[in-house]
Symmetry: D2
């Protein structure tokens, strides 16, 4: 983080150049969290512990990522916690897997399925860079089967998630949650009906609207522009 509060993602093994000056390779290698580094222009950088969001903002992405408010709804509604075991498909650039990995910690585990090899590669790189060990990227089609059992949460962001609900049911522990992200109401409806047929319980379809308030000298008001929709979330257990 520089003196202005701007954050950077640094690779240890090379020189780092910014408009506030150069940080040498040797400085990078020695730096640990809490250190202050001085550039050749005499500007200060602090080495901070990044949150998972800091990292996701700066990491390599080639596909859209689930927005924060929807991740929040999944975390809060399923009560995901440290030590839990999660399945996630498809991986994309790995953002949601990183969110889950961040929560479940060392004693938990995330298995993330991605059918496309290029995305799986990006995701692996991102996860390595974040330095988390509890996420296994599986470059395989989740429709061909789920290898894991006794899972606390299965999260699906797939075009036809309902095709694998029977497998999901077998993979979940008793009381575990299935959460489905569906941009279209039609997908959410089909997911709901099939989950019901398969005797899932606690079926809920949610949508979240987030408003940001602006504090200006003239007064306070919600922002003029807002995200009108990101997707529906279908939950069942």
């Amino acid at each position: 983080m520089d003196e202005r509060g701007k954050k950077y993602l640094l690779k240890e093994d090379r020189e780092f150049q910014t408009d506030l000056g150069i940080i040498k390779k040797e400085q990078m290698e020695r730096a640990t969290i809490g250190d202050t580094i001085i550039t050749h222009l005499d500007k200060e950088f602090k080495v901070i512990k990044p949150t998972v969001n800091d990292f996701i903002d700066l990491m390599e992405r080639r596909c859209s990522i689930l927005i924060q408010k929807d991740i929040g709804t999944v975390l809060a509604r399923t009560g995901l916690g440290a030590g839990d075991r999660v399945i996630d498909a498809g991986t994309g650039a790995g953002a949601i897997a990183l969110n889950f990995g961040n929560v479940v910690g060392d004693k938990g585990q995330v298995y993330t399925y991605e059918i496309r090899e290029d995305f799986a590669e990006i995701a692996k790189r991102n996860i390595d860079n974040f330095g988390i060990k509890n996420i296994e990227v599986k470059n395989q089609d989740i429709k061909e089967g789920i290898d894991e059992e006794e899972i606390d949460l299965v999260f699906l962001d797939l075009p036809k998630p309902f095709e694998i609900f029977e497998d999901v049911k077998k993979a979940l522990r008793l009381g575990g949650w299935l959460a489905v992200y569906a941009p279209y109401i039609d997908q959410a409806e089909v997911a709901y009906r099939i989950a019901k047929k398969l005797d899932f319980r606690d079926l809920t379809i949610l949508e979240t609207l987030e408003r940001e308030m602006e504090i200006r000298p003239q007064g306070t008001r919600p922002k003029t522009r807002m995200v009108g929709h990101s997707g529906y979330l279908v939950f069942c257990s």
Copy 2:
């Protein structure tokens, strides 16, 4: 969980009576997660691992608790994860501390400040019952000082949270988050202005609206009734 999916919170050390029959004290003591227990009326109960939400729904409460959607916004926006250290005030019945404790896990720690002794007692009981070891209930006024340092997240649900922002700033690690719950816009405004004066960064005031969709034979629609407002959340780091 009974055959209908209804969940119960069981105390190991006594007989348990339901409309589906009695479970004896000996049965209760021997039961572990995954077991099936048969009542004297020949009904099946499954022993399941409760999520933090299952527990909070059934635990003892004497005050209102933060609603799930707001907890989700806090978790998602601050990127809280396993191993993090959190301060929370006021504790109330302990629900929000349990949510944080559930996420930060064994390697993390939650310090929860509660000025009222009766609430602190309820919270301690609830935390013991849930069986989590990483939450310290502190029956003291957070306005008299914060004992901890290098904290990842401070969450305040107090009438005048801004009175302690200077102390919060000292307690937070570089890059750590302050999150404030404020039911009234006026509180959120003051919190925002004071945080700005104290050079907090990334100031944001958010409000979340959650809609539930109904699937009926006639068609699909949002539910007629919804929660119109729970509170504003002020974030800064």
Copy 3:
């Protein structure tokens, strides 16, 4: 209107009794707008000109009525004005016809179709009582044909509105609007697709959420409870 601001709907031809005293039949007959009437308990009542909303709030109803916010959306989006000609089906208790009649005035005309005789009777009584002359209640099934032409607005609150879109198209003037109220998204979708097939233009599906703010001594906030959904409105011209 009594001294507390409470409004009453008075029938001229009989004595009126309230908790603030009795108003005699003779007083009722003589009263005109602007008058002050004194009850036998010496309380004041003012005779006021009711708005269409005052009237609808107090009139006889046996069915649910479209909520105000949706009427507002129809009025604003179609630009309905004095002198316009409107078709409305089904009538119900006549509330929406009264709203339209109130706007189109003496030079305009509302034709309201209602298949059920009992509703048509209630609607006629309500319209007579409000004292408006520009609404014709037609106790006939609009599916059997629309008698009118050169209509500025057709408003449909029917289970399958799309069955009569071809007839509606013939009834509308060039540039006139069709507005459909649909509680379920499925109805709105079908209406949209059929309108598109029939070459209607300016197709839009809207939904409105209304929030009320509370001013309390402690501060300002949106109300805790709000209407989560009343219906979708499909517009085309």
Copy 4:
């Protein structure tokens, strides 16, 4: 309206050029509503009766105009109808006055106050062009007094509307409405408190969110972008 449904605002007294060909001055002068005009490129134009919205979309504007959803809320909540008498300040380009004029019709009257001469001129031109006779543009400061009495609706879009609430109270008929547009919550609060002090009744602060649904081949969903806020509306009578 051309063959594609695009609408144009035509001046009778001159030749009209489009990418679909030229319409001669003589053709323009002869045209009446319902006519079809052929351009020199043999394209058809229909002469249609514009709604007030068609007109406002195409008229001259130099300032922002109140958005449709808010006009709808004012119309619906106050029950404005043909024959009513309205005061509106400030006029701006005249859009809201046109909306009111359109509803109150020949037997009603709109008095619109505008302090700036340039806006008052634009508004007069727009109103003349729309061809409505019931709007009087008053190029005077409404703070210096209200000339009218027995008004059904006063609508204020001013920075400090509350400064003239006493005058408004005198101008309103018993049971008439004051509606205030306030972009900031702070203005709405002050308006509310002062209205209360002045014994206005039925005080309400509303805010409306409008969502548009998208029908795509893949499915149905709310649009990604929406207007997050336009303003609060304060009502009292």
